[in-house]
């Protein structure tokens, strides 16, 4: 079984790891028809107000539904996404 791998370069996207805040972009979420990506608050960071988290990142979750269309790779302004097997 071929398994899709999607890698996000968190030094480019993810504001807890030196990248941009994905809430300001989210292009990958919008162009991906099967909705493979999830935008979520970062783990293990110190938030001033845990009810209003400020550190976010993107994780490709539903990998088995990715069709390798390449739209996310093209749309990402940070060139942070790689899709391979």
């Amino acid at each position: 079984m071929r398994k899709t791998k999607i890698i996000i370069d968190y030094s480019k996207c993810g504001n807890a790891t030196g990248g941009i805040d994905p809430r300001q972009c989210s292009k990958c979420l919008q162009v991906c028809d099967p909705a493979v990506f999830v935008r979520h608050m970062a783990f293990n960071v110190k938030e001033d107000n845990p009810y209003d988290p400020q550190f976010w990142q993107i994780t490709p979750v539903w990998l088995s539904l990715c069709t390798h269309c390449g739209k996310c790779v093209k749309a990402c302004p940070q060139k942070a996404i790689t899709v391979t097997f």
Binding site: R23, P34, A35, V38, V61, L63
Partner: protein
Amino acid sequence: MCDWCMKHGAGGKWYLNARNYSYELAESMNLQAYLEEQWKNFEQVYIRKIMGISSIGLGYKLRMPIIGRVLRWSAERMIHSESRNRNPVRADGHFGQVIPIEEAKLIMLNLAAEPIIQNYCMCRMMQKGIKDVCCINFGVLSTVIEKLPRFIPENTKVRLGREEAAAVLEEQNRKGRVTTVWFQPVPYICAICSCEAPQCGGLRLRMDFGLHTVYKAEYYAEVDPDLCQGCKTCIAGCQFGAIRFSPTLKRVLIDQSKCFGCGLCRDRCPHDAIRLVPRDENPVLRGKY
């Protein structure tokens, strides 16, 4: 009626039983603290490891021999958990059912506990980055969500009256969203959502992975061959791919094994050609939720 009606329906449908909406129930389950824990970091739910396994690549994990079967079994158990030591961060005991719009309105007007709020749809926000005011939450959950700024709509009212909330749901139905009612956690009911696949987490787990996060409605759609004019309006409304136009018959066919009974096709048919039939009345579809 499904198993959940037997257990929590007091002789009727689970979502029409007033007790499941009551503050007494929420209090006896200590839900304020539970839901706060669950909602604070809800967007992490698919990424977090649960018993060593996260939802990342779930489709592949479910296909693994043996492990896949165990995983499916434990996921179903978690989704439907009624155990005392439920874990809020796994969203234990959180599942729902599709309902037609008239039942959603009935719930809003008569059963939902106040305060009633409208807020951004979490699924659309976390999977599409889109802010869309459409979820109606009520009872204890409202006061929990009101503490979380990211879900609170800008420039619009948050707390709604019963009629206003019913109107919001009707508007969403008109847009083509599937109306769903949710246990959170079972048997407490505190949300009516207007969902759209594939970015709805509940529909995703059901439609793509066969997990019972969302049950089909107590109804299924039936088309009257004499009334259908073949205009195809209904097809665009079905999120479940259950309707197609037959060039031979010059009318539509509904695949009832695919139909979730949402009623969207019925609601938009200009010729009143579709009706919802109670699932219980059909010997083949009865019990198939």
